[in-house]
Amino acid sequence: DTAVSQTPKYLVTQMGNDKSIKCEQNLGHDTMYWYKQDSKKFLKIMFSYNNKELIINETVPNRFSPKSPDKAHLNLHINSLELGDSAVYFCASSMTSGGYTQYFGPGTRLTVL
């Protein structure tokens, strides 16, 4: 069974479009994250939710908006896509009582043309 899943795995779109990436975890974790990994492989935290409450909100353009409908889901919506948004986006989850070990989804490769 997949622990942390993301859809879609690949996303190719034109500049200016709006797109969403969905994430679901079935681990019973209370915290979920979105990361951006650029072409140099650097992992940058974007957002984190704990029990549906936003706890990390790094310096990210307003065009990026996370939404957590429940503890098991954290979606990422991106408005007015730009070339620089091309990257791999990872969702992850962890349990506070579990020593903060994060488990990652398979990643979504976003390509903006």
Binding site: T31, K41, I45, I55, G99, Y100, T101, Y103
Partner: protein, 116 residues
Amino acid sequence: AQTVTQSQPEMSVQEAETVTLSCTYDTSENNYYLFWYKQPPSRQMILVIRQEAYKQQNATENRFSVNFQKAAKSFSLKISDSQLGDTAMYFCAFVDNAGNNRKLIWGLGTSLAVNP
């Protein structure tokens, strides 16, 4: 500021040999967790090993072990009997127990190539 440094951007090792990847970190906290993650070409991020700072015993997972030196703030990963499937990017990461944002601090990664 808390930082994680991986001083070896690239490394290579022959199959069946042993390789050690270095990681140092900086924190003023006493209770924290350290991790090594592996990212093979498939791009999946996989947890390799985890160490709790309050435990003196070094963590091991099969062929993977760490050398945790708390005073020196060093957390190196040793891979024994290297296999072709160990070829990947390896990331060292750290999170402290203070505060409640659970933010992992990441190193820039070491690209490891295992050669046949």
